[in-house]
């Protein structure tokens, strides 16, 4: 089996193995280390010796053995050997309860809820999710987030310690909390996707591995919770956004805005899949923010050109979205849609109100949109100043070059 197939198989099995080991033995933090070691051992051995008949069982056995070793050495150190007895294999002593089949699906969901627990900071939630559920190594996660491996190692072990200290049980959250906790899981996946789609620093715009990983994890959650509209909405949103990636940068790595993108380069399969998902989810209700954002992305993706886009429908969807969340970026996008539907002046009026919002007043995006609308309205000098103001407010070099080029083009004309 080629290395890439083994890697894909291991990533798919990672949360199942960790879930099974934690369910049997507890000790999430140590079990996580043991599972990583089992995955590493498999990654070295399987390409050479072949994949065992039951790869999942192989991994669970190796991880359990390693966990026992780790716990023994820890406990020898701590001279508390009595605890190991109380931790031993409840499922080997008791028949499983009839009403609780501990399926892999449950385990993976429990892991996700655990990694995205509100006691952890967002940075820790992301790192732990990528490692425990995504099966990425610490080195890979560190590289994706451009931090030294040491830092990431510490971030992950601190997160695991936090989980241990908070005594969070390895179980699904109570029904009353589940909606909110699922919201946290989806937010983490959304952050991972965005980190990959719009990397915030450096000469490169995409760190596509992270987007691909976020999509893979969203697919996993969608398989586990196929009837949840927001899970479907998030997966659709990621697919419909990622579909535009091939057209989003030019040959020299410069940013290409959606209006100028070569739509024939958009990924038609991803669009078809995303549209089908969101079309299936919307009528089922209730409609949440991810579904609305996916619906907006679908309207864009299905339009043959920027001009031929159904802007009134996009305006209506943004109005629904604004009712659900008071988010200045949503308000900004709403203003753009209004400008496209009713003319630049109508959009500029909405921007006026946003300029007083401290959360976005200094953001380059507000100035870039203002510049664009002023340009559409024919105010070349105003547009030039606003493009320059926007360029001075982003640290991303390709964005700076794009905005300065727009400003320079306006300087040449009348």
């Amino acid at each position: 089996m080629p290395d890439t197939d083994v890697e894909g198989l291991l990533r798919q099995l990672a949360p199942q193995v960790l879930g099974a080991v934690v369910r049997r033995y507890g000790h999430f933090d140590t079990a996580e280390d043991a599972t990583q070691e089992a995955l590493l051992a498999a990654a070295m051995r399987w390409p050479r010796d072949g994949v065992p008949d039951n790869p999942r069982a192989w991994l669970i056995t190796v991880a359990s053995r390693r966990l026992t070793d780790l716990l023994r050495s820890e406990q020898a150190r701590q001279r508390r050997e009595d605890t190991v007895a109380s931790r031993a294999l409840p499922e080997q002593r008791l028949a499983p309860a009839a009403d609780r089949p501990a399926s892999d699906a449950d385990d993976t969901l429990v892991l996700l809820f655990m990694c995205c627990h509100p006691v952890l900071s967002p940075a820790s939630q992301i790192a732990l999710t990528l490692r425990a559920v995504g099966g990425l190594t610490t080195a890979e996660i560190a590289r994706a987030f451009l931090v030294p491996e040491d830092t990431m190692t510490r971030r992950i072990s601190r997160a695991k310690q936090r989980i241990r200290d908070s005594g969070i049980p390895f179980a699904l959250p109570p029904a009353g909390e589940r909606g909110e906790r699922l919201g946290a899981v989806l937010h983490v996946l959304y952050l991972i996707f965005n980190e990959g789609y719009a990397s915030t620093s450096g000469p490169h715009l995409h760190r596509t591995e992270l987007s691909a990983e976020a999509i893979r994890l969203a697919r996993l959650v969608h398989r586990l919770l196929p009837d949840d509209g927001e899970v479907t909405g998030l997966l659709a949103l990621m697919l419909l956004t990622d579909a535009r990636r091939p057209a989003r940068t030019g040959p020299d790595g410069e940013l290409v805005p959606m209006a100028s993108q070569d739509r024939s380069r958009w990924n038609a399969d991803a669009i078809a899949e995303g549209v089908a998902l969101i079309t299936g989810a919307l009528p089922r209700g209730p409609t949440g923010p991810y579904q609305l954002q996916a619906a907006i992305a679908a309207v864009h993706d299905e339009a043959p050109s920027a001009e031929a886009t159904d802007w009134p429908q996009i305006v209506a969807l943004y109005e629904l979205l604004r009712r659900l969340s008071d988010n200045p970026v949503v308000a900004l996008n709403h203003a753009v849609a209004v400008a496209m539907a009713r003319g630049p002046q109508a959009g500029l009026e909405l921007l006026g109100a946003l300029q007083a919002d401290q959360r976005i007043a200094a953001d380059h995006r507000l100035h870039a949109v203002r510049a664009h609308l002023l340009e559409l309205a024919g105010d070349r000098a105003g547009a030039r100043d606003a493009y320059q103001a926007a360029a001075g407010r982003t640290t991303n070099l390709p964005q700076q070059r794009y905005l300065n080029a727009r400003a320079a083009r306006l300087a040449d004309g009348p």
Binding site: G202, P203, Q388, A391, N404, A411
Partner: protein, 138 residues
Amino acid sequence: MKYMILTYASQRDYDAMAGRPTEEPVWSADDFAAMAEFMEAFNKDLADSGELVETRGLAAPVLTRRLQLQNGVPVVTDGPYAETQEVLAGYWIVECDSFDRATELAARLASCPAPEQVAATAVADVRPIADARADLEL
């Protein structure tokens, strides 16, 4: 032993690279792409040889905040640098066998594609890193 390779640029250099018109010629899209490609390959080589510890580019000097004590209280000055003053723009920390090897790595930066007037004045420094307190007390 660890060494730091440092490169420098002025606010004006940053503006030229970001495509903002100044007295210096603005970098063309080709200039910029060639530089980015060189840096990517340079960093990858360092990482592949196992010598790269870390590398970063710094945002424009105009974004600097300087802290100074005034009557025992830290006071912040925004953008303390003059337009043409060359300040730290980026660094690499490398771990290698000798000062000469670190110097050899830094010398490769000389072949980084850049507009003529930028290449003509570019400098890089290589400095040994004091690893531990003991190094400083020797």
